[in-house]
Amino acid sequence: MKSLLSAMGVAVVLVAALAATPPAARDEQMKAAKENGAQTYEHLATAIIEIRKTEDGLVKGIVMHNAGAADASLARAARAEGGDKKQALERAADEITNAANEGDKPVQAVRQRLSKAGHTHHTDAETKEDYIWIDGKEKKKLVDLAQRISKMGDNASADDINKARGELREIMSGALKDE
């Protein structure tokens, strides 16, 4: 509301200034103002497009971090024994779930805050299907993988765990491919 009143105030001042100007000069001024407006909007559009690209890049980084953390936990699990193995497997399952959701809980809260402001580039709110990078099918694969990994237990073999790592890498390389 405040910004609207400010804009209206500026417009009133401009119109008053124009009204006080001789007609020929007034025409020149209006033409310049129109061109300036378009140029400024052009710059703003460039900035908005760059910000979207930055968001894409940032989210990709977040997802890569989650997937990387999952992979590291799986590597640890393959080497570990007993309770340590189970803990590492659960940690991997957590990180894979985070990757499936394109971020952990604090990131999800940021997404909701952006949605409140009308920003929907990043969310599955509209399509209920896809995020920026992880689509619905990839999300399902990741969630299923996370569950399977969490169930592996203390006696999981290094072979089985490394197989799961391979599966994770395959899903992620497909998901994070630039289109």
Partner: protein, 563 residues
């Protein structure tokens, strides 16, 4: 007051005809029949929830209810949470009436009297839900009421009155609180408290809200929850001296995702001797907080199989309940969801692993169109298995302009047939044919006749008190479990074997949708005239058994009592 059908003369005629049909069906030994007796019982409080057009999400949430024996006279009394009535002013709505919480005392003869003013609980906050539990271990059940605004903790004085001690106890938390539950998180003998919180909003936003979302590309409806900021859930640890400490972060329960929390279930879901927490979140993944054994928790919802549906998608979770539906010894979870989506039955596989079996069991065609809220597993026909009841009602009154959706909806009764839910609502009696925009649900035997009745709340309407007639034709037993202090032993688990069948049950606070079912455990026993073996696992793990317990009784067992 809007005419929603329940006041019309034609309804009275239909009600009478239905009562005749009930009698005939009952005489013929058919399926138990349900009849709405709220008006006859004197339960007339209208539960308000906003203005007729429902411009803001708050006006869609409705209110919960409770069956609770607050005066310890053996009869279940009724708590009805209430909201505010708003007008339709397009600029800024005005408050026409602040509804008050109602406490209906059961006089034992089928009649109830609203004693809320006398009892000191007639609060006029915009209320949402209620749960029960004796937080101060004095043998008197207390009530926690969640509000849009400060919550209330009504301490039962034991003389028919309550005092609100929420602020003093440290649990007044002013937010939009929804479902809640008392449970002993750290096994120290007193009840802690989890409160789900939904959305951040102010009353000014509610009163000036506009309908800005388009539903089905056709009608303008309220916005949210997407686009609104989620409110964070709270966990309070009981200090044992009448006060609580906000231990949300310390217990690992920080709701960093700011999910839209609604339904709360506290249960030892993996039967490892400590109580876990399940939160049905609207439009976000559900939480499954595993108790680490020391009163701290880890969210395993993401990979447990109970956070998302079978397609890996978050649904709009509202109500939740849990029981061993398929009789395999593992606890299953039922979550109600939005319209044009199915309710989800997560089959338990042990160790907090679940699988969404909704499609495999045929739940989609039954539950896809209704917008569902309160839900409960219960044995309505006492045939020794868990059936399901779900109450529904849309959030957008504007859907009445569409051909295939309706604002007012029926409850649904699903009979358990060998582990498959089969809808039997059509033949379940007139009480389940009523259409309202329903929300809360509590299950209890209010008339003490050995079968389970239903208490259902509805938007801008008096509640339904739906009496079960004929459910007691088969054998049953009800258990009231008390700690040595006289407190209801919330968290106690019971396993019974009768007639060759084994059943499990757990005494819980909260669950369903923002409501509280009776604090007694009911078992249908089929034809078995006795319970061969009854095993109680008290909350601290101590086990007590009894053999050869006769059916057809209300049995109170205080820990340490000898048979």
């Amino acid at each position: 007051m809007e005419d929603r059908g329940w006041k019309s003369p034609s309804f009275a005629i239909l009600h009478s005809l239905s009562a005749i049909l009930v009698f005939v069906s009952f005489a013929q030994g058919g399926q138990p029949q349900f009849t709405d007796v709220a008006k006859a019982a004197g339960i007339t409080t209208i539960q308000w929830c906003g203005g007729p057009e429902r411009n803001h999400l708050l006006e869609s949430a409705g209110q919960g209810c409770a069956f609770v024996d607050y005066d310890n006279d053996g009869h279940l009394d009724i708590v009805l949470v209430n909201g505010w009535r708003l007008d339709s002013d397009p600029e800024k709505r005005k408050v026409l009436e602040k509804g008050k919480l109602a406490l209906y005392r059961n006089s034992g003869d089928g009649k109830f009297e609203n004693v809320a003013e006398k009892a000191g609980v007639a609060d006029d906050s915009w209320g949402n839900g209620v749960c029960a539990g004796d937080f101060d271990n004095d043998g008197q059940v207390d009530l926690y009421v969640t509000n849009f605004g400060p919550n209330r903790l009504y301490r039962n004085r034991g003389d028919g009155t309550f005092e609100d001690v929420a602020k003093r106890a440290g649990v007044a938390h002013a937010s939009w609180s929804a479902g809640s539950s008392f449970f002993d998180a750290d096994k120290d003998g007193d009840l802690d408290l989890y409160v789900a919180c939904y959305v951040e909003a102010t009353m000014d936003e509610v009163l000036t809200a506009r309908r800005t979302t388009v539903w089905q590309d056709k009608v303008k409806v309220m916005a949210g929850p997407f686009g609104l900021r989620g409110a964070r859930d709270k966990f309070y640890r009981n200090n044992g001296n009448g006060t609580f400490t906000d231990a949300t972060k310390e217990a690992g329960l920080d709701d960093e995702a700011e999910a839209y929390g609604l339904g709360v279930l506290t249960s030892d879901l993996d039967r490892d001797g400590d109580v876990d927490i399940y939160v049905a979140n609207d439009s976000n993944p559900n939480y499954l907080w595993r108790n680490n054994g020391d009163g701290t928790f880890t969210d395993v919802g993401g990979w447990s199989g109970a956070g998302l549906n079978a397609d890996g998608k978050a649904q709009a979770g509202m109500g939740v309940d849990a029981a061993d539906f398929d009789g395999d010894g593992h606890t299953d979870i039922y979550v109600t969801n939005f319209a044009r989506d199915y309710d989800t039955l997560y089959k338990g596989a042990g160790e907090l692993y679940f699988e969404d079996v909704s499609l495999a069991l045929g739940l989609k065609p039954i539950t896809y169109m209704p917008l569902s809220w309160g839900c409960s597993f219960f044995d309505f026909d006492n045939d020794a298995d868990q059936d399901i009841v779900v109450v529904s009602g849309h959030i957008y009154p504007q859907v009445d302009q569409l051909q295939d959706e309706a604002y007012l909806q029926r409850a649904q009764l699903m009979e358990n047939r060998a582990g498959k839910p089969v809808e039997v609502t059509d033949t379940a009696g007139p009480g389940l044919q009523t259409k309202r925009s329903m929300r809360g649900l509590a299950v209890g035997d209010y008339d003490n006749d050995g079968d389970l009745d239903l208490l259902i709340t509805a938007i801008d309407s008096p509640p339904l008190l739906v009496r079960n007639d004929g459910g007691n034709r088969s054998q049953w037993i009800q258990l009231r479990l008390l700690e040595k202090t006289g407190r209801d032993a919330i968290g106690a688990r019971v396993k019974i074997t009768a007639g060759g069948k084994t059943q499990h049950a757990e005494l819980r606070s909260g669950s369903t949708y923002a409501s509280q079912s009776m604090l007694r455990l009911h078992f249908g026993l089929g034809d078995a005239a006795k319970v061969d073996k009854l095993e109680i696992t008290w909350p601290d793990g101590e086990i007590q058994t009894r053999d050869g317990v006769p059916a057809g009784q209300f049995l109170t067992i205080r820990r340490g009592d000898r048979p």
